[in-house]
Structures are given as C-alpha cells and as structure tokens.
C-alpha cells in the first residue's frame, strides 16, 4: 500500500500509512486500523458540529420531506438512508432532535464494519431511535424514500459518480440529497486551516485537504446527477453563495413532480436552488 501511494505521488499519505502498526509480514494491524478510523471520524464529527453542517442538512431536508408528504398520498412512514454514514452523526442527531418528524425512519449504512458497530453503540448508549446497517447502501432489503450523504461524493470519480446517482434513480426512492465540499478556491485553504486547528492525527489532516482538492465542480455534479427519471438541482451553487459561509452544499435529484412542492416549502430560499438550465447564468 505504501508503494502504491508513492506511485501515485502522495508521499505524505505514504508516510502516514508507513507509521501505522503492522504484523511481522508488514500487514496492517486490523484492530489498530479500526481504532484509527473511529478516532479520525470522531474528530471529523467535531468539525461537523462546529460548522453546523447538520443545520444545513435540515434546512434542505425539512422542506424536501414536506414536499414528499404533500404529494405522497399516504401518511408514511418514510425512510431516510444515509449512505456512508461513518459514525452516524447525521442520523443520530436527526433522531435526537426529531427534526424531520416521527414519520421518518432513520437508517445509516456504511461499508466499514468498525464504524457501523461504533455508530450502533453510540445510538444505543443515548437511546436514539435510528438504525445502522453494515453493507452496501444499494443492497438493502428495503428501499429508501430519500438517500442522503455527507462528504462522500468526492470519493466517486469519473463514471462512478454518475453510476452512484443512476443506482438511486433506478430504485424506488423519491429523491436524493448529497452534501459535499463546495469546490471554491477557498476550500483547500479553509480545509487546511481547519484540519490543522481541529484534528490531531496526520491522517485526518491530510485527508481533509485532499478531500477539498477532490471536490467536484457545480457543473460536474449537475451533469452527473442528470439521469433518467430525475430532475437534478444544486442548492447554493458557486456564483450564488459566499464561500466563507458555505462549506458544504448539496446536489439534489428529485422525481420531477416534487419540484414545485419543494420550491414552495423552501419559500424564499428556493431562489438558491438551480437546475442545469440556470447554472450557466449563475456561474462566474
């Protein structure tokens, strides 16, 4: 792995991995890796708390569920699935604040067993009504009403990004809403300052800046989300948002009949919601 990172030219990442504990054959100690992942995600959660990322999510998800309720023709229950939930902060916080209402079932899914185990433990310790599943978000037995994620999109590159949206469009879900780092010129500098000031492990510090550098442009996100059966929308695109105030913002994909009710539910804030046809006008 170290040599692969070196081949990619990422010497810092190679140094960080080389410093992790291994067994006699140079294989990474899985327990140490799990502990490291949990500790880095706990630090990441602190950043989310400080930057109020979850208020941002509720600001969009609240109206989205209002639109869904208005058009569903039934009283729920609805299901929110957080893809790549990590330690499950979003889902646990939504459960603790009941921000989306009692008719929304909250589920976090992650491929990392250690993170899922810890998320479940944290939820039980605080008696929160939410669940965590280890596995691929698209292999769940029950489909989601809405798929969400935070800080996951920049991990998908090239065609994998469109495949990610296509899989959700092909399910029975009514919408997806994925928050990721806004690709502004300020993002890498801001990420450096914040990860330096708030995170302790070099892995978290390095990944924070690397992630900001990998953030997708507005254009990339909107074109990737343009898949059959889905109306792609971007909330707070670059030209419309102050980069000092907007650290993460979402790309949405909704069934077309939801657009009007969503705009109504957003009220004045709906002017920040743009489709591909308006993006050209707002981009700087």
């Amino acid at each position: 792995m170290v040599s692969r990172l070196l081949e990619c030219g990422d010497q810092r990442a190679a140094r960080i991995v080389a410093a992790l504990p291994t067994d006699g054959d140079g294989v990474l100690d899985p327990l140490a890796v799990d502990r490291l992942m949990i500790s880095v995600h706990t630090e990441l959660q602190r950043l989310r708390e400080e930057l109020r990322i979850d208020d941002r999510l509720v600001h969009v998800l609240g109206p989205l569920f209002a639109a869904i309720r208005a058009t569903a023709g039934h009283g729920g229950p609805f299901r929110l699935v957080d893809i790549g939930s990590g330690l499950g902060y979003l889902v646990r916080r939504l459960a603790a604040t009941r921000a989306l209402g009692p008719d929304v079932e909250l589920v976090g899914v992650d491929l990392d067993a250690a993170l899922v185990g810890e998320a479940g433990r944290l939820a039980r310790a605080e008696g929160l009504a939410c669940g965590f599943v280890h596995g691929n978000a698209f292999d769940l037995p029950e489909a989601a009403t809405v798929y969400v994620s935070t800080g996951v999109l920049h991990h998908f590159r090239g065609p994998a990004l469109a495949d990610f949206f296509r899989a959700q469009a092909a399910s029975s879900a009514l919408a997806f809403c994925h928050f990721d780092i806004a690709a502004t010129r300020l993002a890498p500098i801001g990420a450096w300052v914040f990860h330096r000031a708030r995170m302790r492990h070099p892995l978290g510090r390095h990944d924070g800046v690397a992630s900001a550098l990998r953030a997708h442009s507005d254009h990339t996100l909107l074109s990737a989300a343009e898949v059959p059966g889905i109306r792609p929308l971007l909330y707070e695109p670059r030209g419309m948002a102050n980069p000092f105030c907007t650290t993460l913002r979402p790309v949405l994909g909704i069934r077309p009949h939801l657009e009007e009710p969503l705009r109504r539910a957003l009220g004045r804030a709906s002017r920040r919601l743009v489709g591909p046809e308006q993006l050209a006008g707002t981009a700087r």
Binding site: E50, H59, E118, G190, V193, N242, T247
Partner: protein, 175 residues
Amino acid sequence: MTPAPALAALGLMDAAFSGFRAYAGRDARIRKHRAIARAALRGLAAGAVLLLAPAITAGGVLLIADDRARAYASLADGGIGYLVPLVVYAAVVLLSLAAYFVLPFRASTLAVVVGLGPLTLLRPLALGIACLGALVHDGGWTSLLVGAVAGVAVLCVEPLVHRRWYAEVLRPPSG
C-alpha cells in the same frame, strides 16, 4: 495599577477553553453538555496550577532585585504591555464566539471560518506579540521572562489535559 488580576483572569479563561479543546473531537455522543463542562473545569484546574509558574517567576524576580520598587514598577509596566495585545485577541475571540452562538447557521459558519478556526492557530503568535508588548512597554528582560513563562504555561494546558484525560476516544458502554 497592577495588571496581575486581569492577566490571571485572561489566563484562566484561556485555560477553560483549552480544556474544552483538549476534549473536543474525542466524544462522538450527541448530548454532551456535562462532558464539555467537565473538560472546561479540567482545563481551568490545570491552568490554575500551570499559571503558578509565571507567578513564581515574578516573585523570584522581585526577591532577587536590588531595588524592589523599581523591579515591581517595570514588571507592572511590562504586564500592561503584555495585556493589551491579549485583550485585543480575546475580544476578537469572544466576538466570534458570540456571533457563532447568536447568528443563524450561514453567518455562524462565517464566524468559525474567519474567526474561531484561524484564531486557534494564531494563539502562539498572539502570545509572541504580547511578549514583544511587554518589552516595548518598558518591561525590560524581567517582564519578557515572566511573559514567556506565562505563554508557555497557557500553551501547555491543552496538551496536558488532553494527555491526562482524553488521549483515547471516549467510548460508550457496549450494548
């Protein structure tokens, strides 16, 4: 007027924040007001002990001085020079903090991005400027010494509390 009480108050306030920072990022629970208060108290306790170092240094300076009144006067002058930059720094921090808590989420992000985050990184710089302030405000090398010891002491609170209480991620009981 002696600047000592104001400096001590500032130092203790900083120690409480340092205690919070030593803990932050180690506890993934949602509800943690009590844990935050405990961390701030731990910082405060560690700060109270560590701030004895500059107090003792100042006492030592006075003890060995030939002319105690003059030595005291120059420490007081230096103390004021040390205090001024720190008061400016603290005012900006408190302003950002107030903005963070009072303003809606978009504006509060601004308070964090241009205020609280960078200000944490700038703490050593603020202390450096304070030392310089002590020197130029007729504090002499004795004030510089006391100021430097105080600076090191407050910078040590966070790592100390972190190492003593928060070296590991806090884990909930398994269930």
